[in-house]
Symmetry: C2
Subunit: 343 residues, 2 copies
């Protein structure tokens, strides 16, 4: 009989699955810890709270970073275009306002053409700012993807330094569904479009079709330039409204793409889980070559089939496992780990 | 002693790792099949060939799909704008050419403004085309991401129907490194920029700075419109060159973002693999609750820590495992699978 590390704790959801799905079972698999354990109690509760706080602060940090980049970019851009203001031609209002407005119209690749550079210096400046502006917009949009990696990193760094244990890393924060985010962004987009149309109709005195046409030309960053913001009040509004609405539309398209990928991945998972397991599959899945396939081996095999992990991922971890398994029993126990770490 | 499904086949690369990394080992883990096996020989060789062919044909299919979408889009767009050609004002050349050119300038959100709609119908048409054009560009760019899911699906469908076995699914096609793709796209971009500058300087008679400025305004889809293609030859060139160069720049930014994410993920993997394993880790990793952590259990635990898989992925596969493990031994053998599939 093998020594148990802890009194067996059975997962109620697994029991329900076993009962409903495939008749009575005497052996039920535990889930790898993801629910708080009674015997960790207070420590874990503290950890979870710390994690939630940390998670919020990362989110906060990301936004602060983006805000700083954007401010620096617009600040430098405004200064540059203010100094070359006599080399810009077109509809002008106040010098500083025009510089900010030109900067925003350039960085979002809107390019109305109501203000255009007419000297070599101003033209090259515009070229430099449109490229860096595109990179900045890409940075803002990729923050969402990066955020996940960042969160995982923070959890780990915390686990390393505060000895809170591994539970928090494996604790799952329920992500908001993509469909929900999609709808939210779409509603925000409609609000922005409506406010833009109303503003253009009242302040810039466009008729309704022209106002709507100008809104569409702007949020898509098309910017033909036949209709644009030419009053002082219009340009102040434009600076904020253009940044918000172009980002919002881009984000909407990203979520649509994500939704599409998610649907396909779900179909793939179904395909993997419903196909018949053959003798060849069992041989291929038998990672430790003991003639039978354990639960964990089966999970790895199927996740590879779903494309979620690859051979290189498995190889790297196996290398660490071999280094830790000092007595070469094929399994890790506390003894192994203590021995490996003391040597 | 447990029955072996097959004479033990040891992976030479694992042996090398064991030898170089952590001293001599008597027990060496096999890799889950990813190299062809001698005893499958001819069948497998045929499968691999079929897979490679299939992989190419999927790639081909993706491109064909994109080409069809683009052709239909440009065809419908050209027809629409040809019919409303008297409601477009600005620099005109030939009617059909102007319609294609206007369509491309709109769908890429370039919007020079050298041709602008001046009726309600034409304005609404332009709005409709810029939105669908953006969606189409998003589709083209997301093809690369989708391609991976698609390939995995095709492999599986094939394995299901042709009984080629699971080897091909787990066979790894070495992906071209992101850095390599990044450099390739960058070189292509430079070539496109150079050809555009030379063309504008010779055919449109711009001086060098203006030609370069117009190229930068175009590939970023900025399109102020003070410099654009106004000759017939220029607009023919523009239709192809604009589509190629804007897509190329967007792809370049995508690769840069991917490179950045990859770097961060590598750092995360290192962090996970170098941190000390504790007693709490071992307890959490012990999936089948037998008091010790097997190799596969350790792999799953670490991959969760890296954020590559989550609890839901594991839960779904575990459910299938339980359904297959008819004798409830905690391991799958041929007997289990045969029994499960006959009932």
């Amino acid at each position: 009989m093998r020594p148990s590390l802890r009194p067996g704790l059975r997962d109620p959801s697994a029991q329900i699955n076993a009962r409903n799905g495939h008749g009575p079972k005497s052996r039920i698999y535990r889930r790898t810890r993801s629910a708080p354990l009674a015997n960790y109690g207070a420590v874990e509760a503290k950890c979870v709270a710390a994690v939630q706080q940390r998670s919020q602060s990362i989110m906060h940090l990301s936004f602060v970073k983006v805000a700083i980049f954007l401010t620096v970019y617009l600040g430098v851009g405004t200064m540059c275009f203010y100094f070359v203001r006599h080399q810009l031609e077109g509809d002008k209002t106040k010098a500083v306002l025009d510089a900010v407005y030109f900067c925003v119209v350039t960085m979002t690749t809107l390019g109305y053409g109501d203000l255009v550079p007419n000297s070599t210096l101003a033209k090259l400046l515009a070229c430099a700012f449109v490229f860096t502006g595109m990179a900045l917009v890409a940075l803002i949009l990729s923050k969402a993807a990066d955020y996940l990696v960042e969160r995982q990193e923070m959890f780990l760094t915390k686990a390393l330094h505060q000895k809170c244990g591994p539970i928090e890393v494996h604790k799952e924060v329920e992500p908001k569904s993509v469909r929900y985010k999609c709808v939210t962004v779409f509603i925000l987009l409609l609000v922005l479009m409506a406010s833009g149309t109303i503003f253009l109709a009242t302040v810039e005195k466009f008729d309704f079709v022209d106002a709507f046409y100008c809104v569409c030309c702007t949020i898509t960053s098309l910017g033909y330039g036949d209709k644009s913001f030419s009053t002082e009040a219009g340009r102040v509004f434009a600076v904020f409204w253009i940044l918000a609405s172009t980002t919002c539309l881009a984000q909407f398209f990203l979520y649509i793409a994500e939704l599409n990928t998610q649907h396909r991945q779900k179909a793939l998972v179904n395909l993997v889980l419903t196909r018949e397991v053959t003798k060849v599959d069992l041989e291929a899945a038998d990672l430790d070559d003991d003639g039978v396939v354990g639960a964990a081996e089966f999970v790895i095999y199927k996740l590879k089939e779903m494309g979620k992990i690859n051979q290189e991922d498995v190889r790297l971890v196996m290398k660490e496992f071999e280094a830790l398994d000092v007595d070469q029993s094929g399994t890790l126990s506390i003894k192994d780990v203590t021995l490996a770490q003391s040597s």
